[in-house]
Structure formats: structure tokens, C-alpha cells
């Protein structure tokens, strides 16, 4: 609960998840806070003053490294970008680790599965250089689309909120929104010649996405993951596997040329 003082500070209760390897419980801490603080400030304050052994992952404190992902009042968010004035001041704030990955300790999860997934995606396959010096020429207009995807900071909040991973634990069949975005960045790159469409359908489980847009909702970089990456990839899969008329058109036209 919160009590405002004359100095503009107030006391507020923070319920932090404490425990190791999946076991644990919420533990309440009372902290002195102001509205300008972010949740990560409070977690650091609690760590310094009340719980020296509290584990939390952080780095830049500027929403650019993607380290301090957690669930604040039940919503996947970056702790460093969640100001206290965005949260109800008159009730405790809950902070728990992400739920789509194995728990390590307190607020820390093991996100290494993501790095293994990334290795499975066909890397950049550029076309032959445009100039004798081994360089390429691309127009800004053609690179605009993939630049949106490159804003990703790999916080994995989209992976955390995706119900296919979070609730159904289909990590073996589905690469998640982050890596569909990564695949889109490669697949739609104006220089790339690789074909990831068969793998997207057969190995990466794009058909498991049911477009609930939760990934887009939580993205701290405001990337339109669903509309601009996942659905365009689903359409490319439809081109290859679900559109006999389109394939007929391809035979008589140059439509297949990317």
C-alpha cells in the first residue's frame, strides 16, 4: 500500500518472486518511492537495502539491452521502462520472472533456448555483389521494411507472452514471435536469396500462431510483429502451399521473382 509524505515520496509495497528453480513464493518489501522512479530502481533499492541476495538481470537501464524483462502486475514488461506513475499507487506491485522460460533464481530466467533457436534459421544469403569491388547497391525504400524488424532488442517479452510457448510449452515445434521476426528480416531483405519458407511451415511452426497479437502488444520497441512480420510470412507460406491458382499464375508470369 502507498502513503504519500511531504517530500513527495511515498511508501509502497512490492511483491517480488523469491525462490530458485521453479520453487518459491512472493515476498513483500516496503520501499520508499517517487513517481519518477522505474520498477528497476525499486528492485535495486530493495536489493541494496533489504535483500542483498535478490537476483535480477539488468544492464543498460535505458530500454535498449533487453535484459530486465519481467512480469509487472501480470504483464510482460521491461523493468527499466515501467514508471511507477503507470502503476496503481494504492496497491502492491507484483514483479515475477518471465513464465515461458525455465526459472533460475528470483527474477532471473534461463533464456538460452532462444539462442539455440536462432542457430536453426538459415543465415543471410546475399546475391552476387553488384559492383566489381564486392559491394551491393540497395535503395532506401527497399530496406525500410526490414529496418523495422532490426529494432528488436531481444528482450524476449514477445516470446514470454505468446501463449504457444507460455501456456502450451510448444518450444520444440514453434520458434516464437521473436524468431519469426528474425526470419522475416532475412527473408524480406532486398539482397537475400535464401528460402526459409519450407522451414517456416515444417520446422518453425508458423501455423501455430493464431494472430492474437499479444507479441505486438508487449513489444517495447513498438514493432508491428504480427502485421508486418508474421502475417506476411504466413502469406508467403500460403503462396507456396495453399494457393494453387497463384502457382498457376507464377507459371505464366514473373511473379515468383522476389
Amino acid at each position: 500500500m502507498s502513503t504519500m509524505t511531504d517530500s513527495g515520496t511515498r511508501k509502497q509495497t512490492f511483491s517480488l518472486w523469491r525462490g530458485e528453480r521453479g520453487t518459491g513464493a512472493f515476498k513483500d518489501y516496503e520501499a520508499t518511492v517517487t513517481d519518477g522512479m522505474v520498477v528497476l530502481d525499486v528492485v535495486h533499492q530493495i536489493q541494496a537495502e533489504q535483500a542483498n541476495d535478490l537476483a535480477c538481470r539488468w544492464n543498460c537501464k535505458a530500454g535498449k539491452c533487453g535484459s530486465c524483462s519481467a512480469e509487472i502486475n501480470g504483464k510482460p514488461k521491461l523493468m527499466c521502462m515501467t514508471r511507477l506513475d503507470q502503476l496503481p499507487a494504492n496497491e502492491p506491485v507484483t514483479v515475477e520472472p518471465m513464465r515461458a522460460f525455465p526459472h533460475v533464481k528470483d527474477l532471473v530466467t534461463d533464456v538460452s533456448w532462444n539462442f539455440e533457436v536462432k542457430k536453426k534459421i538459415l543465415k543471410f544469403v546475399p546475391r552476387a555483389p553488384d559492383a566489381p569491388d564486392g559491394t551491393w547497391r540497395i535503395q532506401q525504400a527497399d530496406s525500410d521494411r526490414v529496418q523495422e524488424y532490426r529494432k528488436c532488442i531481444e528482450c524476449f517479452l514477445c516470446q514470454d507472452v505468446c501463449h504457444v510457448l507460455r501456456d502450451h510449452h510448444m518450444h520444440d515445434e514453434f520458434i516464437g514471435p521473436r524468431f519469426l521476426l528474425y526470419a522475416a528480416a532475412l527473408e524480406m531483405h532486398p539482397l537475400d536469396t535464401g528460402d526459409r519458407v519450407p522451414a517456416l511451415k515444417k520446422d518453425f511452426g508458423i501455423g501455430l500462431c493464431n494472430i492474437t497479437k499479444c507479441c505486438t502488444e508487449v513489444c517495447p520497441e513498438h514493432i508491428q510483429i504480427t502485421d508486418n512480420a508474421i502475417i506476411p510470412l504466413k502469406e508467403r507460406v500460403a503462396d507456396e502451399y495453399f494457393d494453387p491458382l497463384g502457382q498457376l499464375v507464377q507459371i505464366f508470369s514473373r511473379r515468383k521473382e522476389k
Binding site: 521453479g22 512480469e71 502486475n73 501480470g74 504483464k75 510482460p76 496503481p88 496497491e91 507484483t94 515475477e96 513464465r99 515461458a100 522460460f101 525455465p102 526459472h103 540497395i138 535503395q139 525504400a141 527497399d142 507472452v161 501463449h163 504457444v164 507460455r166 501456456d167 502450451h168 510449452h169 510448444m170 518450444h171 520444440d172 524480406m188 531483405h189 532486398p190 537475400d192 511452426g205 501455423g207 501455430l208 500462431c209 493464431n210 494472430i211 492474437t212 497479437k213 499479444c214 508487449v218 508491428q224 504480427t226 502485421d227 502475417i231 506476411p232 504466413k234 502469406e235 507460406v237 500460403a238 503462396d239 502451399y241 495453399f242 494457393d243 497463384g246 511473379r255 521473382e257 522476389k258
Partner: protein, 263 residues
């Protein structure tokens, strides 16, 4: 990854979210159900869907039917009267377009199927197959429904154009009533919704990695993308407008309200 190392799955509707997360799926459930019930009721009335130059979009185009709008005249003799509903011949086509639309899919998977009911909220089902098995993969055929939906824009615009032409004392002349404006607003909303379709966006240019040197294709892709950014909003407003246009014409035809003739 071993599943035993992951956090225990939450039960249905279990969440630490403090906001009113259930309002959005509940609104979808109520709004879509109301539309479906009203649309079905209206289609089964077989009357009251035209008045003066107005024609309800639920019944357009009238392939066979009792009004002067019918393309091929009255009901064919071989078609039993008891199962003859002009609207039901037509409604499956725009219905399929909306049913397979990416916006609607996301909305009804949440509102009707609770899979998930809302983001970061526990689910009822523990098994999930997504859009991979039959019949779910049929959603991938959305583009075919879109092709038909494009034709519907033209047909609805034609009906709205006819809404300008009034027969007074045996003479046909130009005029505008409130219903004409409603019909045109409906055409504008349905066209904006349809032309912002994700599949159309892909087909006009999204399938290419480079649009430089193809100015017409690039312009189509850009405009389609602009509408696509508001696709969800346009989906809801166009759904409302098509039902409201039918309701308005039905009210005027039934004599419950008077259509104001502007000129």
C-alpha cells in the same frame, strides 16, 4: 528444453493482471454474436430489405428475388419456396471473408475460443494445434475470399449509386436521402476494410523484397499498408455499418421512421 523445467501452466483465467482484461474479449463476444444473430434474422425475413432506391447490403446482390433489384428475376420454379432466402445465397461470401480475416481470427480466437482469452491470462485447454490441422488450415485460403470481397465492393457501390435515382411520378431523377448517405458511408467503410486486407497487401507488393522501379506496385503497396494499419478498426466499423444500413432501410421500409430527403 524439458517441459518440467518450465513454470507450471496457469489455470483458466488465472492471471496477476490488475486491469479489466476480460472487457475486450467479452465485448468481441457480445458484438460479434449480436451481428451474427441480427444478420441471420434479417436474412430470414425475406422482406423489408428495399425501399425506394435503397437496397440492403445484407441482400446484395439479389440473384433471384421478388424485387426490381433481382438480376435474374423472381425465384426459379425449381427452387422450393420454403428454402428460398435471397440473402443466404450471398451472405456466405462476405461472411467467409470476415471469418478468415486475420483481424477477426485474432479477435474470435480470444473472444469465442478463449485461446487465450487475453494476453498473459491462463487458458482452459492444455492441448493446442493452432492453424495447422484440418479444417483450421483452410484459413490460409483467405485470399480467395478476398478476391470475391473485392467484387462485392463494386456491387455495393452500384447499389449505392442507384440510391441516387428516385422514381417520382414516373420520372427518374437525381436525389439524395439520408439512406443514400448511409449506403455510401457503408461502401466507403467496406472498401477501406477490404482494400487494407493483409492478403491483398501481400499480393499487390508484399511478396516482393524490392519495389524500386515498380512505381505502380509500390504505390499500391503503400496505400494498402496505410489502410492495413487500421484494419482492425475498419473491420469493426464496417461490420457495424453494414448492419446499420440494413437496419435503417428495414426501419424505413417498415414505416417505423421517415427517410429525410435532402434534395
Amino acid at each position: 528444453m524439458t517441459h518440467s523445467s518450465l513454470p507450471v501452466q496457469r489455470s483458466f483465467a488465472e492471471t496477476l493482471r490488475r486491469d479489466l482484461w476480460w472487457i475486450s474479449p467479452l465485448t468481441v463476444l457480445i458484438a460479434f454474436s449480436t451481428f451474427l444473430i441480427y444478420g441471420t434474422w434479417s436474412a430470414l425475413q425475406n422482406s423489408g430489405y428495399t425501399w425506394g432506391p435503397y437496397f440492403s447490403p445484407f441482400h446484395a446482390p439479389e440473384i433471384w428475388g421478388p424485387t426490381e433489384h433481382a438480376w435474374f428475376g423472381p425465384r426459379p420454379a425449381w427452387w422450393p419456396e420454403i428454402v428460398f432466402y435471397p440473402a443466404l445465397i450471398i451472405l456466405p461470401f462476405p461472411g467467409l471473408f470476415r471469418f478468415t480475416c486475420y483481424y477477426y481470427r485474432g479477435a474470435y480466437y480470444k473472444g469465442f475460443w478463449a485461446d487465450p482469452a487475453a494476453c498473459a491470462v491462463g487458458e482452459a485447454r492444455k492441448t493446442y494445434r493452432g492453424e495447422r490441422p484440418f479444417p483450421n488450415w483452410l484459413q490460409n485460403l483467405h485470399r480467395y475470399a478476398m478476391y470475391i470481397a473485392l467484387i462485392f465492393i463494386v456491387m455495393l457501390a452500384w447499389d449505392a449509386w442507384k440510391g441516387f435515382w428516385w422514381l417520382d411520378n414516373g420520372n427518374l431523377h437525381f436525389g439524395v436521402g439520408v439512406g443514400t448517405l448511409i449506403m455510401w458511408a457503408n461502401v466507403a467503410l467496406i472498401a477501406s476494410y477490404t482494400l487494407g486486407c493483409h492478403s491483398l497487401r501481400h499480393i499487390v507488393g508484399g511478396f516482393k523484397d524490392r519495389l524500386t522501379g515498380q512505381p505502380i506496385r509500390a504505390a499500391c503497396y503503400t496505400q494498402c499498408s496505410r489502410l492495413n494499419a487500421r484494419h482492425g478498426t475498419l473491420a469493426k466499423w464496417s461490420m457495424f455499418s453494414v448492419a446499420f444500413t440494413d437496419f435503417y432501410i428495414r426501419m424505413v421500409a417498415g414505416g417505423y421512421i421517415t427517410d429525410w430527403r435532402l434534395f
